[in-house]
């Protein structure tokens, strides 16, 4: 990561922290929601945006983290340990979700992740002793490193600290050989193989790291909601995360946070406007429609998402967004092998 990325990351987190702690409970709730969504989007951006493996199972991976951390802290462990546990199990399950990617590519793999999402949702419902079935696991507010997490405000600092650490870790990762290998795998597996990159190994690392971050995000989501239930981690959530990274900008540095803020705050704004105008029923029904439309519009006109729009408004603004345009991650670069001659 560059010094500027470090400064921006810490600066944004401090700003979010001040807003969340100064403006009362509702602001703290929103900051937590954005931070958790940004973590989830960060993990999916790693898998889809950087490594090019389209996955619809990220919502369920957050669920794995929420149930794991919930059970661990309900059993008396410190929240920090429980969150770590959620991340580790998230990574393990993510590796299983990613296994088909060793053989399948593009849409075929995406379908396999749909199946993984469905299986995990089913497991959340039937593994009664661990998940408490359809009614959901009630999570007692834990203490994190001794601090009790008994309000929205108290969770602001841990979630922002974790967000910053994860953000910096991923930024750093993308400047190592492994991160560069992800980008080549995204463009073309044939090219990557020819360059001597172990494609399966690179993909598995992306799933492990992405799964860990998703598990941590899920653990925080469980603590924020004090509940882990099957309805919270459905395919809808996976779709929301895909919306976030597309709207924010696939494979861009600030994209996951911008997309997460947009997707979390827009419905809240619609809700407030609706309540003020007395038409909240109609407007909340429009939410899904609005997101669907936005995703299509972004895919057609600006695959690099809001990040690219912002950097176009200010040419030297959020310069971390790489220049040039990229299509959907499945779209491969020109294959290098010159056929059989």
């Amino acid at each position: 990561m560059s010094a500027r990325q470090l400064a921006i990351t810490v600066g944004v987190a401090v700003l979010m922290g001040v807003l969340g702690l100064a403006l009362g409970r509702y602001a703290a709730y929103l900051v937590n929601a954005v931070a958790i969504a940004a973590l989830g989007a960060l993990s999916l951006n790693l898998i889809i945006g950087y490594c090019g493996q389209i996955s619809f199972a990220q919502g369920a991976l957050l669920g794995v983290g929420a149930y794991t951390a919930g059970n661990l802290s309900n059993a008396g462990l410190d929240g920090a340990v429980a969150i770590l546990g959620g991340g580790l199990l998230g990574a393990a399950v993510s590796a299983l979700v990613g296994l088909p990617a060793m053989r399948l590519r593009g849409l075929y793999f995406a379908i396999a992740t749909l199946a993984a999402q469905a299986i995990l949702e089913y497991l959340f419902k039937i593994l009664d002793p661990l998940t408490n079935g359809v009614s959901g696991l009630v999570i007692t507010p834990p203490t994190i490193l001794g601090f009790p997490m008994n309000s929205d405000q108290s969770l602001v600092v841990p979630s922002l600290v974790i967000l910053v650490l994860a953000w910096l870790a991923v930024s750093r990762l993308m400047r190592t050989d492994l991160g560069r290998a992800f980008l080549v795998v995204r463009e073309s597996e044939i090219v990557a193989k020819g360059m001597g990159i172990d494609v399966s190994h690179a993909k598995m690392q992306a799933f492990l790291i992405g799964g860990f971050i998703a598990g941590v995000a899920g653990a925080l989501a469980g603590y924020a909601n004090r509940l882990a239930s099957p309805e919270a981690f459905t395919l809808d959530l996976s779709a929301d995360y895909i919306a976030m990274i597309i709207i924010g900008g696939l494979g861009t540095w600030p994209g996951p946070l911008i997309g997460a803020a947009f997707v979390v705050l827009l419905p809240e704004a619609i809700q407030r406007v609706g309540e003020a105008a007395g038409i909240s029923d109609i407007l909340s029904a429009l939410r899904e429609l609005a997101f669907g439309l936005l995703i299509i519009l972004f895919l057609i006109f600006e695959p690099r998402g809001l990040t690219a729009l912002l950097s176009r408004l200010r040419p030297r603004g959020i310069g971390a967004a790489p220049h040039g345009s990229v299509g959907a991650p499945g779209e491969s670069g020109q294959p290098q092998e010159g056929g059989s001659r």
Partner: protein
């Protein structure tokens, strides 16, 4: 180390693309591989670089069998190749590609990636810039994304990637095809310089005869999957069969 390839044969369905091809290359030698389109030159290179697995044959490299190894295993043994067409890899800079090339000789499982995480790349960047990018005149674009470069420069980047892995056997697939004559001459000079500096064995598939004649120490001619002639550049030009099959009558 010397390369001794013998009896390399690969079939695609009923087509025998490479038929009992044999080729020896000594260290420090540049061997040109020429022949008409469809002769099996690139396919032969693909067999040596692990892209294809031939049906039969062997390629001994200092006593080790290369046939059957994956591209990444071959790169660790010092066998690197360049490609005919260069992919445009979004977001990756010239220096990134060189780093990727340098990374392949290290086996990085078992926590190696974790060490990368905490290691500064400054020294590596400086070394790559000086020893790899500078001779290929890529220093000024080191931090540019490669899709912003001209085709000729992208081919130089591909060569830089192969060289960053410190190869002992370099397989070049049409390194000057599509380049302007100035770029082509610079590329040919770069290949000779690399050979002089690293003392590596080079196989070069190429159609541009002036480059082949001025660069290669020895030339092998392929037609219809087999080697039909091998000898010094002057002898190749004089050979009646090569003229008939490939070069054309004067």
């Amino acid at each position: 180390m010397a390369l001794t390839a013998s009896d390399v044969t690969i079939r695609f369905g009923g087509v025998v693309a490479v038929n009992r091809m044999a080729l020896d290359v000594l260290p420090g030698e540049i061997v040109g591989l020429i022949g008409p389109n469809g002769a099996g030159k690139t396919t032969f290179i693909n067999c040596l670089s692990g892209t294809y697995r031939p049906n039969a044959g062997s390629a001994l490299w200092g006593g080790d069998e290369l046939i059957g190894l994956s591209p990444s295993a071959l790169l660790r043994k010092g066998v690197a190749r360049t490609f005919q067409n260069v992919a445009s890899l979004h977001d990756l800079t010239v220096l990134d590609i060189a780093k990727l090339g340098a990374s392949v000789r290290r086996d990085r499982r078992f926590g190696g990636h974790l060490l990368d995480f905490f290691r500064s790349e400054r020294a590596l960047e400086a070394a790559l810039t000086e020893s790899i990018l500078a001779p290929l005149e890529l220093t000024d674009v080191a931090h540019k994304p490669i899709q912003t470069l001209s085709y000729g420069r992208r081919k130089a980047v591909d060569l830089a990637r192969a060289l960053a892995g410190d190869p002992q056997l370099l397989l070049l697939d049409e390194p000057v095809a599509g380049l302007t004559s100035h770029e082509g001459m610079a590329m040919a000079k770069a290949v000779r310089d690399v050979r002089d500096r690293l003392g590596c064995a080079v196989i070069m598939v190429e159609h541009k005869m002036d480059v082949v004649m001025s660069t290669c120490d020895r030339i092998a001619v392929m037609a219809a999957g087999s080697k039909i002639f091998e000898g010094l550049p002057a002898a190749v030009q004089a050979d009646a069969e090569v003229r008939r099959v490939y070069l054309g009558e004067p």
